[in-house]
């Protein structure tokens, strides 16, 4: 006899995603990542390892970074979930973290990017003026197979600058790292 993995029925789930309540009827063991991607069509959240290791699927649950591949949709019931689609700035344009990753080439294939952005957003909210060391530490739980991480550290520090309203570009290297790419061009 096959194991019954469907949990014997379906449940109605309501999750607030990016400020909007979404309801769907799903299997009790529906992962939050699958719920977001397939039931709500919010495909900005990516799954990489499906295993809690890579961080690509990170979303904010009540503002805290969580791995949506390790969470059931039902566990997010009535919580506030923020995905990469919800990170836009107040004016609807790119938020500081998003701008920084564009300017500093903090991405290549982009698959890991949403997970970094959600993680970094929460980090800078709690620690708006991080050192390079703190910035590295904050994102050390996320994997990127493409970039070699240097530009991701630059992006985090640049995002902190943008948040603080400072106008420098991303040319500054992470502290202790003398070489930097040439100045990033403004978006657009």
């Amino acid at each position: 006899m096959l194991p019954d993995t469907t949990g014997g029925g379906r449940v109605e789930v309501t999750v607030h995603v990016n400020g909007v309540p979404h309801s769907a009827t799903v299997e009790p063991r529906r992962l939050l990542s699958d719920f977001l991607r397939h039931d709500l069509g919010l495909t900005g959240t990516h799954v990489g390892c499906e295993h809690g290791v890579c961080g690509a699927c990170t979303v904010l649950v009540d503002g805290e970074p969580m791995r949506s591949c390790l969470m059931f949709a039902v566990s997010a019931q009535h919580h506030q979930v923020t995905t990469v689609e919800g990170l836009a700035g107040a004016d609807g344009g790119l938020g500081p973290e998003q701008r920084a990753f564009v300017e500093c080439h903090g991405l290549q294939c982009g698959f890991c990017t949403p997970g970094f952005l959600t993680t970094v957003t929460a980090f800078l909210r709690d620690n708006p003026q991080p050192s390079a060391e703190e910035a590295r530490e904050a994102i050390s739980g996320n994997l990127c197979r493409c970039t070699g991480y240097q530009n991701i550290v630059r992006s985090v520090l640049r995002a902190a600058e943008i948040r603080a309203g400072r106008a420098a570009d991303c040319a500054g290297p992470p502290a202790g790292q003398p070489t930097a790419p040439p100045a990033g061009e403004a978006v657009g």
Binding site: G48, Q98, H105, Q108, G110, F111, L143, G148
Partner: protein, 820 residues
């Protein structure tokens, strides 16, 4: 300067621009293949039935129980295939096999209304297997004589005479591991049948044309009945060059049989257990040096671990042979290559495509022999560099060998190498249980596909009446920034601002017969084609503009969206106005571009020719610190100078260098593929099948200081706008880390200690190297000294030196016959 390489005034190429899709990526709007699921109605999900044996015969396959599972729609088996039941081009990899060739091999696929239904259906399929003896390791394959494909030999001069005249002869053995691609996006395909039976496949593929070919032959269709599109990939690294085809074919077969869209997306466990990886290699070698440490002769036999089918193993092996020399002149050379056939995934392309493996063999030899010669490893490397006028063992003159020297000198200077080496010596003298070392290694990497025919590309450029431009080319985007560069090339050639140009996804019905986006050649080839298309349009517009400005067409200049005569006092026309005027004059405003790399030739039967357009150079210096109690280490500093020609897009190129280096360091120091080599029923199973057990580079392994610079004055005559390819070469800069670890381990022994270092050089491997340095210092690791030494096995003549079919167009291609 050639017409191909010359840049106009104020070119858009060379500017630092963000990745073309960056704004989409940071907002989550960038679409990958599997993101289309939410946008596709009535989609079915495919799930494989994976065999739990390394090698077995399928004696019974009963799909009826699966069909009884609610939501299961169909089970796809070999009987459903109307065309050729094969996922490759060599007809040695059945899509639905009757003989299981590796642990996890898919024997059939279940289609379900939901993924869960398909999964339960797959569990319900009943399969009986008759287990067969298996060959799992490359050593077992060598013992059993289990080989496949061609066995080429690359030979120059008289290797025996070279060894005989050498002052020092050493011989040894080396085996090193492969690497899992671990692109963050797993394999994914969605197929549907459009109007009139046209099959449309969206696939995460580096080679849409070949995906199209394989889908067509599986379905028994012609190429024009199948369209393949690749929006973008979440990483490829070679793992999506050959491997996507079978999954696309399963999806397409399901779609044609059910009339509904079918999704085949591998979950991470399936991806890592089913798809091919970088080849591990085994090497036996003899090498000779003169009294000054100059290489005299190299005799080696390389055996790659091919896995269960040939796949790309032959060209990978060819590139390994063609790169064993790295940056070093060796007068007498004989290198044999063989591909073992093992019961493992079908090993395949991975960034560098055998080049890194070939180079690793010689770098390992130099690292082991330097202490035995009493020469500093950096000196030994530097004094063996190619000089002008010398040629590679396969007969290609080495152009610009001075660039390796320039990069070396720059790294030594900007990296303060001399003073740091003194500091390291002082540190090591003062610390008994911690040792540091600095190693510096070069890279010389040949650019172009070895097989000359693949060095062609096409593009399609449209200028619309309003002056906006849409480009399409045959290359695919996997994060490497190819599309960004192509936009820059088009804007440069047409003389318009970057935002006038947009790029449409790669599709086989826009640009046909493309080569894989591989061999680092994407920008060279497709850039040449985009430039060619844009030039055709520009010439036509110059005629129109010349008439209006009253200047000869040859004197018309396009720059920044304005068109004017050569003399600066002439009138200007806005680009969009000129385009509109040209439209009313009935001038063709679109063009198909084509490019083929000139001057290449290659004869695989004798392993000679000039297969590469040019060489890309780079040098890296790495400093590490090793803990003598545990073997744990950290990379303190890395300095890189790399040659990308005149960069098309500096931000993109620096990103490629940093990312390539880190991926190389992962291969050489962290990423440890372990297969079950026991005799238990799980023999052949990949034990490291998740990110939790397969260690990928993360922030914690990053060099504490990491400096990357582009080599200056590096214009390349033979490539688009003077640039050079950048995708693969930086991966091999990571040899510096491995050699630094070897030297640090050796520093635990007396001076002149030679240590063997396993690859990957995990902390555990470094620990054993340290132990070896301490305990067996006098025995020189496992290197034997003296002539004739351990002679590598030589081919016995009953296998082809090359495989004519595999390097030529398939003779029995499914050609259209005249009678319909």
């Amino acid at each position: 300067m050639s017409a191909l390489s010359e840049r106009p005034a104020n070119p858009v190429v060379g500017e630092t621009v963000p990745h073309e899709s960056a704004a989409l990526h940071v907002t989550g709007r960038a679409l990958y293949t599997d993101d289309l699921v939410a946008r596709t109605r009535d989609l079915l999900h495919g799930y494989p039935v994976q065999a739990p044996h390394a090698h077995a015969r399928v004696t019974r396959l009963d799909t009826a129980p699966a069909l009884a599972v609610p939501g299961v729609v169909r089970v796809l088996t070999a009987e459903d295939v109307p065309g050729v039941n094969d996922a490759g081009i060599k007809h040695d990899e059945p899509l639905f096999p009757s003989e299981v060739m590796y642990f996890g091999h898919a024997v059939c696929w279940v289609l379900g209304e939901t993924l869960e239904a398909a999964r339960l259906g797959a569990l319900a399929v009943e399969v009986d297997y008759e287990p067969l003896p298996s060959v799992v390791t490359v050593r077992e394959a060598i013992e059993a004589g289990s080989f496949q494909g061609a066995q080429p030999t690359m030979e120059r001069g008289d290797v025996e005479a070279g060894l005989a005249r050498a002052e020092h002869v050493f011989s040894g053995e080396f085996e090193f591991a492969g690497q899992e691609h671990f692109y963050l996006e797993t394999h994914a395909s969605i197929a549907q049948v459009d109007e009139n039976g046209q099959v449309f496949v969206q696939s995460s593929t580096q080679h849409p044309t070949e995906t199209q070919d394989i889908v067509a032959h599986v379905l028994g269709l012609h190429a024009h009945e199948v369209t393949v599109q690749c929006l973008r990939m979440g990483g490829g690294f070679g793992g999506k060059e050959m491997q996507p085809h079978g999954y696309a074919a399963v999806a397409a077969l399901g779609a044609t049989l059910t009339g509904r869209p079918v999704r085949v997306r591998l979950n991470r466990t399936q991806d890592i257990t089913m798809t091919g990886k970088r080849h591990g290699f085994h090497a036996t070698w003899r090498v000779g040096f003169d009294a000054e440490g100059r290489l005299q002769a190299l005799d080696a036999t390389l055996t790659s671990d091919g896995g269960w089918s040939l796949d790309l193993s032959e060209p990978v092996l060819a590139r390994a042979l063609c790169h064993i020399d790295n940056a070093y002149w060796i007068p007498d050379v004989r290198v044999n290559g063989r591909i073992s056939k093992t019961n493992k995934t079908s090993q395949t392309a991975f960034r560098g495509f055998g080049g890194p493996q070939g180079m690793l063999v010689l770098e390992d030899i130099l690292g082991r022999c330097a202490p035995l010669l009493g020469i500093d490893p950096a000196d030994l490397r530097r004094r063996n560099f190619y000089t002008e006028g010398q040629a590679t063992p396969y007969g290609q003159p080495v152009r610009h060998p001075d660039r390796a020297v320039a990069a070396w000198d720059q790294v030594v200077q900007t990296g303060d190498v001399d003073s740091r080496r003194r500091e390291i010596a002082a540190f090591n003298a003062a610390h008994q249980h911690t040792k540091r070392a600095l190693a510096i290694t070069p890279v010389k990497f040949g650019i172009s596909f070895n097989l000359t025919a693949f060095n062609q590309a096409g593009a399609l450029v449209h200028v619309y009446k309003d002056g906006s431009v849409l480009i399409n080319h045959g290359g695919t985007e996997m994060g490497q920034g190819l599309h960004t560069k192509m936009l820059q090339v088009a804007a440069t050639t047409l003389g318009v601002p970057l935002h006038f140009v947009r790029l449409a996804p790669t599709r086989t019905d826009k640009v046909p017969n493309t080569s894989a986006t591989a061999a680092s050649s994407g920008a060279d080839l497709n850039g040449g084609a985009v430039k060619n298309a844009c030039e055709q349009i520009r010439e036509r517009l110059a005629q129109v503009a010349g008439g209006r400005l009253g200047v000869p067409p040859a004197d018309v200049r396009f720059e920044g969206g304005r068109v004017r005569g050569l003399a600066h006092d002439t009138d200007e026309i806005r680009w969009a106005d000129l385009v509109t005027q040209a439209y009313f004059q009935r001038v063709q405003l679109w063009a198909a571009g084509f490019y083929r790399t000139e001057g290449l030739h290659w004869d695989s039967t004798v392993f000679r020719g000039e297969p590469f357009k040019y060489f890309a150079y780079g040098v890296a210096a790495a400093e590490v610190e090793v803990d003598g109690f545990t073997g744990a280490y950290r990379t303190r500093r890395v300095d890189i100078v790399h040659d990308v020609g005149d960069s098309l897009s500096p931000l993109v190129d620096l990103g490629q260098i940093e990312g390539g280096f880190v991926q190389g360091a992962g291969w050489l120091t962290l990423e440890d593929l372990r297969w079950d080599e026991s005799d238990r029923p799980t023999r052949g199973r990949l034990a490291t099948q998740a990110a939790s057990t397969y260690k990928l580079p993360s922030f914690s392994e990053m060099p504490e200081e990491f400096n990357v610079a582009l080599l200056e004055k590096a214009h390349e005559e033979g490539a688009v706008y003077g640039s050079k390819a950048v995708g693969e070469p930086p991966l091999m800069l990571a040899f510096s880390v491995r050699e630094a670890l070897r030297q640090a381990a050796a520093a635990f022994g007396p001076p002149g200690t030679s240590v063997d270092l396993a690859s990957p050089a995990t902390p555990e491997a470094v620990f054993w190297a340290v132990e070896q340095a301490r305990a067996r210092a006098a025995e020189h690791g496992h290197v034997a000294e003296g002539f004739p030494g351990m002679v590598p096995p030589q081919p016995n003549g009953d296998v082809p030196r090359y495989h004519p079919r595999s390097e030529r167009p398939p003779a029995e291609q499914h050609a259209l016959s005249a009678e319909v």
